[in-house]
C-alpha cells in the first residue's frame, strides 16, 4: 500500500517535470535579464535601433527585431497555409490509398530535414533564384527566409490538419452524400468545417514552428536590423539575433542582458499564441 503511494508520487513527479522546467526557464531568464531594468533602464528596449556593438553608443531597441520576426512569419504563413491545407484535404479526402502511401513518407522526410541543411539549400539555391527573379542585388532577404520557413511549416500543418480531417466521423460524410451533395460540396461544406478547429490548431503550431526557427533564418535573411514591411529588404529576427550574438557576448554585460529580454519577448509571443489556440479549440469543443 505504501509502495503504491510512493510510486504514485514518482509518477506525479515525472509528469510535473515539464512544469518545473518551464518555471525554471522563466526564473532563469528573469534572473539574467533583471539587472537591465535598473542600470540602462527598460526604456532602452523600446527603441528603433539595434546596435549592440559600437564605439559610439550601444543601442538595444528591439522594434527592428520584432518587425523582422513578424514580417518573416506573416509571409511564411501566407505561402504555407493555402498550400498545406489544400494538400491535407487532398491527402485525406481525395487521394487513392496508393497515392497516400507515396505522399506521406515524403512529407515526413521534409519534416525531418535539419534546419541548418535547409538553410544551406536556401543560401545556395533559393537565394540566387529569388535574386534573379526580382532582379535584385542580393537574394538574402525576408522573402527568401519566408519561403524557406513556409517549407518547414508545411509538414507540421499538413500532418495535423490531415489528422483533424481524418477524425471527422464517416457518418457526417455519408449523410451529406445521401442528401445528394456532390463529393466536392461534402468536402468543403461538411468535412472541412467539422475539422476547422483542428486545422486552426495546426496553423497555430505552424506559426510556432516558424517564429521559433533560427538557423535557416540566420543563414538567409541577411540579418540587417531594419524596420520594414517590404519583403525584399533584409531583416533580422529575434531568434537569429540571440543565436548570432549570444556566443561571444561578454557575460553579464548590458548586451548579454538585452539578449535575455529578447528571449523573454519571444517566450511571451509563443505563450500568447499557445493560449489563443487553446481558446479556439475550447470554443469549438475540441480541447482535451
Amino acid at each position: 500500500m505504501r509502495m503504491d503511494k510512493f510510486m504514485r508520487m514518482v509518477l506525479a513527479g515525472t509528469a510535473s517535470f515539464s512544469v518545473l522546467i518551464v518555471a525554471l526557464i522563466f526564473l532563469f531568464l528573469g534572473k539574467e535579464a533583471a539587472p537591465f531594468a535598473f542600470d540602462p533602464g527598460l526604456g532602452k528596449l523600446f527603441g528603433a535601433q539595434w546596435i549592440p556593438v559600437s564605439f559610439q553608443e550601444e543601442l538595444f531597441g528591439i522594434y527592428p527585431l520584432l518587425a523582422g520576426s513578424s514580417l518573416v512569419t506573416l509571409l511564411a504563413m501566407l505561402f504555407s497555409i493555402p498550400l498545406s491545407v489544400v494538400g491535407a484535404i487532398y491527402i485525406s479526402e481525395v487521394a487513392q490509398p496508393v497515392e497516400r502511401e507515396f505522399l506521406k513518407p515524403f512529407i515526413e522526410i521534409l519534416a525531418s530535414i535539419p534546419s541548418v541543411v535547409l538553410g544551406f539549400f536556401g543560401l545556395v539555391v533559393l537565394a540566387p533564384l529569388v535574386k534573379n527573379f526580382f532582379g535584385l542585388g542580393s537574394g538574402l532577404n525576408a522573402l527568401t527566409a519566408a519561403l524557406l520557413l513556409a517549407l518547414m511549416a508545411l509538414p507540421t500543418i499538413i500532418t495535423i490538419s490531415e489528422d483533424a480531417l481524418a477524425s471527422v466521423p464517416r457518418s457526417f460524410k455519408q449523410a451529406s452524400l445521401a442528401l445528394g451533395a456532390s463529393e466536392l460540396q461534402t468536402i468543403f461544406r461538411v468535412t472541412v468545417p467539422a475539422a476547422l478547429p483542428g486545422i486552426i490548431a495546426a496553423i497555430m503550431l505552424g506559426i510556432g514552428r516558424v517564429i521559433g526557427e533560427t538557423m535557416a533564418v540566420l543563414m538567409v535573411s541577411g540579418n540587417s536590423a531594419l524596420i520594414t514591411l517590404y519583403p525584399l529588404d533584409s531583416v533580422r529576427t529575434m531568434t537569429a539575433t540571440i543565436a548570432a550574438e549570444m556566443g561571444e557576448v561578454p557575460f553579464g554585460g548590458h548586451h548579454y542582458q538585452a539578449l535575455f529580454w529578447v528571449g523573454i519577448a519571444l517566450l511571451l509571443i509563443t505563450f500568447v499564441l499557445n493560449t489563443l489556440s487553446r481558446i479556439v479549440l475550447k470554443k469549438y469543443g475540441m480541447a482535451q
Binding site: Q49, P52, V53, S54, K131, G137, S224, S234
Partner: protein
C-alpha cells in the same frame, strides 16, 4: 520487481556520482604536482590560444593551462594585477598600461606570435580594383551607397559584414571605419563561408574576410587593394605585404609575460613560436610571424 529495479537504478546513480568524485580528486592531485598556468585576454585570440594549449597539454601531460577571454584590455589588466601568467592581446600595450606596470615594478615582455590580415573582397566582375581607407569607411558606414562614387559602375553597393560577435567585426570597425557604426543596411552573416558565398553571388557586394580565406575562395571573389591615408599606391593584401606592414588592414597578435618568461610560461611561448605552434596559427586562419 519494480522495487528492486528502483533500487538498482539508485545504486547506479550513486556509483555514477562517486565515480565523478574520485576522478575529480585525481585531477586535483595531478594538478598539485604539475605547474598550472593561466592565459587571459583577447577574445579574437581565444580560439588560437586554446588550440595551442590543447596541443601543448597533449605534449606535456601533467601541465594544466587555463585559457579565458574577456578582451585584450582585461588580459593586460590581469597581467598587471598578477591574476594571469600570460596575457593574449590583439593590440600593443599602451603608455598608460606601461606606466601602471612600471609603478608595480613590472616589465611586460612582448612576443608577436601571429599576424591577422583582413582582405576586402568584392564580386570578381567588379571593375573597382582599389579603394582608400576613407572610401572604405564611407562604404561601410553607409555614406557611399553607389559604386559610381568610387569609380565603378552605376550599381548600388551591398555591404556584407560578419556578425557583431566576431572579433573581425570590431577590428574592422576600429581600424577602418574610424570607430563609426556600420550602416543599418549592412547584411550581417554568421560565418566566413556564408560571407564569401554572398559576395560571390552579388555583383554590387563588398565584404571582408581573414586573409587565409581569400586563397581558399579562389576566383569566386576578388580581393581589392587598399590605399593608406597619405600613401600614393594602393597595396594588395598578401602574406608579404601583411608581414612588411605595407598593407594597412592588418595587425600583429601578441602574447605578454611579466618580465622574461620562465619555466612553463617560457616553454609555452617557445612552443607558440615553434614550427608546430606556427602551423596551428596557420590552421586558425592567421599568418605565421616567420
Amino acid at each position: 520487481m519494480r522495487n528492486s529495479l528502483l533500487a538498482i537504478s539508485l545504486v547506479i546513480l550513486l556509483l555514477g556520482f562517486s565515480g565523478c568524485g574520485s576522478s575529480d580528486q585525481e585531477k586535483t592531485g595531478a594538478g598539485a604536482e604539475a605547474r598550472y598556468l593561466t592565459i587571459k585576454g583577447s577574445d579574437t585570440m581565444v580560439h588560437l590560444v586554446s588550440a595551442w594549449a590543447e596541443e601543448y597539454m597533449r605534449l606535456k601531460p601533467g601541465v594544466e593551462l587555463s585559457v579565458t577571454g574577456g578582451g585584450s584590455g582585461t588580459g593586460i589588466a590581469g597581467l598587471i594585477n598578477g591574476t594571469t601568467d600570460i596575457c593574449a592581446s590583439s593590440r600593443s600595450i599602451n603608455d598608460r598600461e606601461k606606466d601602471l606596470a612600471a609603478a608595480r615594478n613590472l616589465n611586460p615582455r612582448e612576443f608577436a606570435v601571429a599576424l591577422d590580415g583582413i582582405a576586402i573582397i568584392v564580386h570578381p566582375e567588379n571593375p573597382v580594383n582599389d579603394l582608400s581607407m576613407e572610401q572604405l569607411q564611407g562604404i561601410f558606414t553607409g555614406n557611399i551607397t553607389n559604386w559610381q562614387e568610387v569609380g565603378g559602375a552605376d550599381l548600388p553597393i551591398l555591404v556584407f559584414s560578419r556578425e557583431s560577435s566576431s572579433g573581425t567585426f570590431v577590428f574592422f570597425q576600429e581600424h577602418v571605419m574610424n570607430r563609426q557604426d556600420y550602416t543599418p543596411r549592412a547584411r550581417l552573416l554568421p560565418g566566413t563561408s556564408a560571407l564569401v558565398q554572398g559576395v560571390s553571388a552579388d555583383a554590387g557586394a563588398i565584404g571582408y574576410v581573414g586573409l587565409g580565406y581569400v586563397k581558399e575562395a579562389g576566383d569566386t571573389v576578388k580581393a581589392i587593394s587598399v590605399r593608406s591615408p597619405g600613401a600614393e599606391m594602393a597595396v594588395a593584401p598578401s602574406d608579404q605585404t601583411v608581414k612588411d606592414g605595407s598593407y594597412p588592414v592588418a595587425r600583429p597578435l601578441f602574447l605578454y609575460t611579466n618580465g622574461e618568461p620562465q619555466g612553463t610560461a617560457k616553454e609555452f611561448v617557445d612552443f607558440a613560436l615553434s614550427e608546430q605552434g606556427q602551423g596551428i596559427v596557420h590552421e586558425a586562419g592567421y599568418l605565421s610571424v616567420q
